[in-house]
Symmetry: C2
Subunit: 346 residues, 2 copies
DNA sequence: TTGAAAGCGGTACCAA
DNA sequence: TTGGTACCGCTTTCAA
């Protein structure tokens, strides 16, 4: 209502006075303490609503120790997968009245002073989705007893984690390619620093390399489009009889780069080389790519991650837990499939 | 050092005791108050460092009213432009010891309770980058005297704004197309709700529609790839003699969709139809697209936005200000250019 | 069922 | 130059 510059905010004291009760009573009534009589509660709640009362979280945090703030370390947002994750994270957290303080977004490392902001603001916990295995933020949290949950990462000490079953995803894709008659795989990975990439490749290789089928090429595409593009160029430059007949990109963005390079150099996808990716980012669904991929259950991963974090915040000494969620293969047209296309396992 | 569960955090009281001085002195020393003797300051600073003291922002906020937190409303992160903005924002803010509380990320509207979190957490100010003209967050801020700066948006009442000179960008692109001999423009816009799109189109039209050259087609592509794709299909379906000979997409993402559709239907870009976009997102630089576009000076926009917000926080009654930054045309190969390619104005 | 009062960790004004 | 102290707004015993 009031708009004057010196508008006195409604506080718990204001309320207690206009209700003629103590601040304790107001505090209890507002949080639904059972020891408050229904009549009293109703009266106070009504008053609060009418006055447009909003509790000062800072004050609450100071006395209760709980801020409702969660620190967020986000990987490179320019990879659409992280953008999806971010949107889902913010949406679900808001629904639970939780907010993120964003600590980092991007590929680079985190400044020390940034990681320490986690402590300054007394975040209740921290969510880490960056693929980098090491993390200043994780260290700071560990040293200070701040619960950590990692999404899309294998766990570290002092952290729970939820991710998609990356190895099984890689294996699914491998089985699909083998069923399509492919025998010579190329793997576009993302380096030794990415736990996901490593798992995906492991699962893939275990399922692909048998009965004479094998991996004939590996390339570190650093999880960026340009890396995939360079890999594609390298492959086209190989003698035709040495080239892989299919490519497993550990993330869609890499696979898309490879597809563009292969086509730009005059080879066809999937006729000459099949390409499969991982993540199921929206861009991969475009007709131009239509990349066969493995969908991570992002919404479920976020839900589980938030739950895990909440549990850990409520009961700090719960044992670390790591959960693997099953994803699903998404078949499009970037890879040849067996005639009939029916026998896709999984 | 200590790691025990019951570790007593170092507070200003702890410090004052071990230094044998009052808490006021410690507080002053730590913030560089000139009335503290250098010797005393040095002693206290050393003590603080040794003890690993970190001030509790919540407490500071409670008494000083300043949280160092900035509310952030981000547009759809799945548009790479917003992803770029996010990364730049977080990087620059961290360098100034400012943190973002993320209020929203995505295309949808904001929940009331979410917007009110801004008040609960006593954010010092709010940064809005969503393209939507209306915004619950802006309303809440306006009603409560929270300074607002909009980046990539035209201003509203009670808000400063910084954006790229969208009209001039549109005009640049128009001049470029006209110099390349184009006479019939198609405009892929983003609807009446996007202030940027409107400005870009206005600038474009003013510079393009003269000497018989004119706009022959308009399509609402809603700022998404799919919208651009649909527009492209519609264009290809037109009789050849009615089709535009060039397309101005008010954002790259739209233009990319259009290019894919046009090519998928058998027409060539730029031979049959030229396409230009806006934003200069990384994806547009890929060889497959190589879209001619207009680069927004993102880093400068962010710097200016943060400065503006800081100023407004320090002096709440400063008049609203809106700043326009000049961008630059980025010529690639998605549009035919004049023979020689030299006379590109601007 | 309700109230009084002691913090939570700083800041800043007033004295000394 | 330093200390004393009253808050900031809310939570939470402890009593009544």
């Amino acid at each position: 209502m009031t708009d004057a510059p010196g508008k006195p905010r409604t506080t718990i004291v204001t309320l207690s006075r206009s209700a003629g009760v103590s601040t304790s009573t107001v505090s209890r009534a507002l949080k639904g303490d059972p020891s408050i009589s229904p009549a009293m509660r109703a009266r106070i709640v009504a008053l609060a609503a009418e006055a447009g009362y909003m509790p000062n979280i800072m004050a609450r945090t100071l006395s209760s120790g709980r801020s409702g703030l969660i620190g967020l370390v986000l990987g490179p947002a320019t990879n659409p997968f992280y953008a999806m994750l971010l949107e889902e994270l913010v949406r679900q957290a808001a629904a639970k009245q939780q907010r993120f303080m964003i600590i980092h977004a991007g590929a680079g490392p985190i400044e020390d002073s940034t990681a320490e902001a986690l402590l300054h603001y007394r975040v209740d916990g921290c969510l880490i989705t960056s693929a980098d295995l090491s993390s200043r933020a994780a260290d700071v949290c560990a040293r200070n007893g701040v619960p950590v949950v990692m999404i899309n990462r294998i766990p570290r000490e002092h952290a729970s984690a939820v991710s998609c079953d990356n190895a099984e995803g890689g294996a699914s894709l491998a089985r699909f390619l083998r069923a399509g008659g492919h025998r010579r795989a190329g793997i576009l990975h993302s380096g030794a620093g990415s736990s996901n990439g490593i798992e995906r490749e492991r699962g893939f290789t275990e399922a692909f390399d048998k009965d004479g089928a094998r991996t004939v090429f590996r390339y570190d595409a650093r999880s960026v489009y340009e890396g995939g593009y360079a890999a594609g160029e390298a492959i086209v430059a190989m003698p035709a009889n040495k080239r892989p007949d299919c490519l497993f990109a550990v993330s869609d963005i890499i696979g898309m780069g490879a597809m563009d390079a292969i086509r730009a150099k005059g080879l066809r996808v999937p006729e000459d080389i099949s390409v499969v990716g991982f993540d199921c980012i929206p861009d991969g669904a475009r007709p131009h790519y239509a990349i066969t991929t493995f969908r991570q259950p992002v919404a479920a991963m976020v839900r589980r991650g938030l739950d895990l974090l909440a549990a850990r915040i409520g009961e700090p000494k719960l044992p670390d837990e790591s959960v693997l969620l099953r994803g699903e293969i998404v078949i499009r047209t970037s890879a040849r499939q067996a005639a009939g296309g029916g026998e896709v396992a999984d």
